[in-house]
């Protein structure tokens, strides 16, 4: 049996980006869960501990890339799920722009929060 139930047109750009971001997220999400639930217990998280982690350049870059990639993967997934449900015309255009604006706002907020956590001030 070789049935496929994908929301995407195979080989499209959104299809490819969803797969590439998924491959990255699989690794980083597992790392994130391990770091903040098993290595460090979530109940013991403090700003000082968060800042110590976020001041390591590699961790900072990984977490920002994680947030931005997750944002794209999530929004792209929602858009394609709605297209798959049959949304079209004005509704499709409206959904697209609402998701783009939401993703941009979330992306900016992720960077702002990350810099505050790292103790970096950006004007």
């Amino acid at each position: 049996m070789a049935e496929r139930y994908s929301s995407f047109e195979p080989k499209g750009t959104r299809w490819l980006l969803q797969r590439l971001t998924a491959a990255f997220l699989v690794v980083v999400l597992a790392f994130h869960f391990m770091t903040l639930h098993f290595v460090n217990h979530a109940a013991d998280v403090t700003f000082a501990g968060t800042q110590m982690r976020m001041q390591q350049p590699g961790y900072f870059v990984t977490m920002v890339a994680f947030g931005l990639t997750a944002t794209f993967h999530g929004v792209n997934g929602v858009y394609n799920a709605l297209v798959n449900q049959g949304i079209e015309g004005t509704g499709k255009t409206a959904v697209k722009w609402v998701l783009i604006v939401a993703a941009l706002l979330l992306g900016v907020q992720i960077i702002r929060v990350a810099t505050v956590m790292a103790g970096v001030s950006i004007a």
Binding site: A2, A43, V78
Partner: protein, 130 residues
């Protein structure tokens, strides 16, 4: 190799008893995806308390972790995330044309492995709350 397949109207949930394993995998992946994107916005909102000062961030996170319902929600989030990851890996293999004949079994394996990981993680997630 990609081949088209007329899956019929999956949106017609009235015929859910006819759904195959692949259909359920599709539905679960969509459901867990919606939960995860919703959680991402919530998670960043909570972490944004860092912008109000270190004390607000620490007290907010520790205050939430002190609530038993939050611990159970975290277990639910783990279940959702683990299934989305495992089924996502399964989908990547399917897209690469690997294991096409084992799609049903790999879906069941994703469910079983998700259950095992979540059950094994419950003590860690509930530690200190009960």
């Amino acid at each position: 190799m990609s081949q088209s397949y007329d899956r019929g109207l999956i949106e017609d949930f009235g015929r859910w008893t006819e759904f195959s394993a692949g259909m359920w995998a599709w539905i679960f992946h969509k459901f867990t995806g919606w939960v995860l994107i919703g959680y991402l916005f919530t998670h960043i909102a909570v972490l944004s308390t860092a912008m109000s000062g270190p004390e607000v961030y620490t007290s907010t996170l520790q205050g939430l972790e002190a609530l038993l319902i939050v611990r159970f929600l975290e277990v639910g989030l783990l279940a959702v995330a683990v299934f989305h990851i495992l089924n996502g890996v399964r989908l990547l293999f399917v897209d690469l044309g690997v294991g096409l004949e084992s799609q049903d079994r790999s879906f069941y394996a994703s469910l079983v492995l998700t259950g095992a990981i979540v059950i094994a993680s419950i003590p860690t997630f509930l530690a200190g709350a009960i």
